[in-house]
């Protein structure tokens, strides 16, 4: 029953493609069997909405009358890179305000830009013959920017750790507040709806794949940073912890407030909730098998964040169905669970992507190049080497 990308796009263009969200597809496969579901459905849409720290925006401000080469740049008091061309910058989502700390950061500036709010721009220039202006202070909105686009080096993590804290004091982490003595367990994945969990070996998701980024149509640009295709996998070939990642690019001007949200994690810092959705073509039964997996089939590994090490001790493996029940049992103790990835938002993204395909004729794109596949070595740690002989402090 294998279908080609062309056949599926042809059906979308003619308006007779069958499109379902990953939740709907899993339900259909349970009822009718994977074979029948694979035959019936052309595209499965996915979605996820969780904190994704490696997120940011490239911008071009346009030139002032007397030109300036911006060196020290802040947007609403949040530093942005002065290391690009004269009036280009990159604003990182986790950058913190010079005055408000983690209560306002790069992600909040991005949220305010999307909402159309005025942003204060302050820049100091590096004075040269071509760029004589030394300083500029003004207010801008997203409409004043020549270009503004997301380039997020690491989004849509394929599964993630579940965190607990065995120590006797509260820990503040990027997975939120971890209560002492394993007072809670925090997970972070859209599970059944998660893009990379639905195509676990990256058969259809690769460089050039069209995707949904914060409400805007975008593309997978590259493998994400720390992409680890060789992380441990279960019997379905699905990773049981952090594994693959993608870098995405998309027009900020077409992003929508409901699919991007800044986050302040007390005692940790700023992050960005980014909505990512990817349409997956139902090419064959093998792919349909993983598209049909539910939260009961997908697992995540629980680690003790009380141990400050790259290799934290593992304290158990649970399915997302168990994690979403509100409690799990670790070593005889009932532990309250909670997520940090929004299921209602993930569902809304998968449904919106489905609407794009059905109502707007949004076509799928075959990857130009595949992401590093399972079996490719994963990331390596930073080696802390000592200073070389004769080397001086900088």
């Amino acid at each position: 029953m294998a279908k080609t990308w062309e056949e599926i796009n042809d059906r979308i263009a003619k308006g007779n493609a069958v499109v379902m969200t990953a939740e709907e597809f899993a339900a259909l496969a349970k009822e009718e069997g994977v074979k029948s579901a694979a035959k019936k459905v052309d595209v499965v849409t996915t979605g996820t909405f969780g904190p994704m720290c490696s997120t940011g925006v490239f911008m071009n401000f346009g030139h002032t009358d007397i030109p300036i080469r911006m060196k020290e740049i802040t947007l609403n008091g949040v530093p942005a890179s002065g290391g690009l061309a004269a009036v280009d910058t990159y604003l990182g989502g986790t950058e913190e305000s010079k005055t408000r700390g983690l209560e306002y950061g790069g992600a909040h500036v991005i949220e305010d830009l999307i909402a159309g709010k005025e942003i204060r721009l302050d820049a100091l220039g590096s004075v040269t013959d071509c760029y004589p202006l030394d300083e500029v202070s003004t207010y801008i909105t997203i409409d004043d920017l020549n270009q503004a686009y997301f380039f997020n080096p690491r989004n849509a993590y394929q599964n993630y750790n579940v965190a607990v804290n065995s120590t006797d004091k509260t820990l503040h982490t990027y997975l939120g507040t971890l209560l002492p003595n394993m007072g809670n367990a925090v997970y972070c994945s859209a599970g059944v709806l998660s893009p990379l969990l639905n195509d676990p070996t990256y058969r259809t998701i690769g460089i050039g794949t069209k995707c949904f980024v914060a409400g805007a149509p975008g593309y997978v640009a590259w493998q994400g940073t720390q992409h680890n295709p060789s992380a441990p996998r279960d019997k379905h070939g699905v990773p049981t912890g952090g594994a693959g990642t993608i870098a995405v690019i998309a027009d900020l001007k077409r992003a929508r407030s409901e699919f991007f949200a800044a986050a302040s994690f007390t005692g940790y810092g700023v992050s960005s909730f980014v909505g990512i959705g990817i349409p997956i073509p139902v090419l064959d039964e093998e792919l349909a098998e993983t598209l049909a997996l539910t939260d009961a089939d997908i697992s995540a590994t629980v680690y003790d964040y009380g141990v400050p090490s790259r290799s934290r001790p593992e304290v158990g493996v649970f399915t997302y169905e168990q994690l979403r029940s509100g409690q799990i049992e670790i070593a005889g103790k009932t532990v309250r669970t909670g997520g940090v990835s929004s299921m209602p938002k993930a569902r809304a993204i998968a449904n919106e992507l489905k609407r794009w395909i059905l109502e707007e004729g949004y076509l799928l794109s075959e990857p130009v190049e595949r992401l590093p596949e399972p079996g490719t070595p994963g990331p390596t740690p930073l080696i802390q080497r000592g200073k070389k002989e004769g080397e001086r402090n900088a």
């Binding site: 939120g176 809670n184 909730f273 997520g339 569902r347």
Partner: protein
């Protein structure tokens, strides 16, 4: 019936066994939700009282007679739906189970279970939960 109060203790009575009198003299069931009381200083207590309506009225009078400032409205958590993204982090730190996610993953608040511990307030990455007096 059950009511919540914010009691402000003047420094002079910060050592008085007020709660004892509420139990013995008015047959009320007190539940101290929060309190910050030190000898010789003005103190604040968030108190939940359960009992009959007439006993509660009498107890309110008794507290006023003790020169205590009582505000029956007390405190509550205020949740901003527009800011909330239903991530569920607040539910993971709510030991009382006042915050939880329903089967579809949407946040559900049961104010009767809330003891105003405020852990959710600082945990919420969207700053969507506030304690209001």
């Amino acid at each position: 019936m059950r009511k919540r109060y914010k009691l402000t203790f003047p420094p002079a009575i910060s050592r008085e066994p007020i709660v004892y009198h509420l139990v013995k003299d008015f047959d009320l069931m007190p539940n101290i939700l929060r309190s910050q009381i030190q000898p010789g200083c003005e103190g604040v207590m968030l108190l939940e009282l359960t009992g009959t309506a007439d006993k509660l009225v009498a107890a309110e009078q008794y507290l006023r007679d003790q020169k205590m400032v009582i505000s029956p409205a007390a405190a509550d958590i205020e949740h901003n739906d527009d800011l909330c993204v239903d991530c569920g982090l607040c539910a993971s730190v709510c030991r009382q189970g006042a915050l939880s996610l329903d089967a579809l993953g949407a946040l559900v608040i049961n104010r009767d279970l809330c003891v105003l511990c405020e852990v959710c307030v600082s945990t919420c990455p969207r700053r969507a939960i506030k304690l209001v007096f």
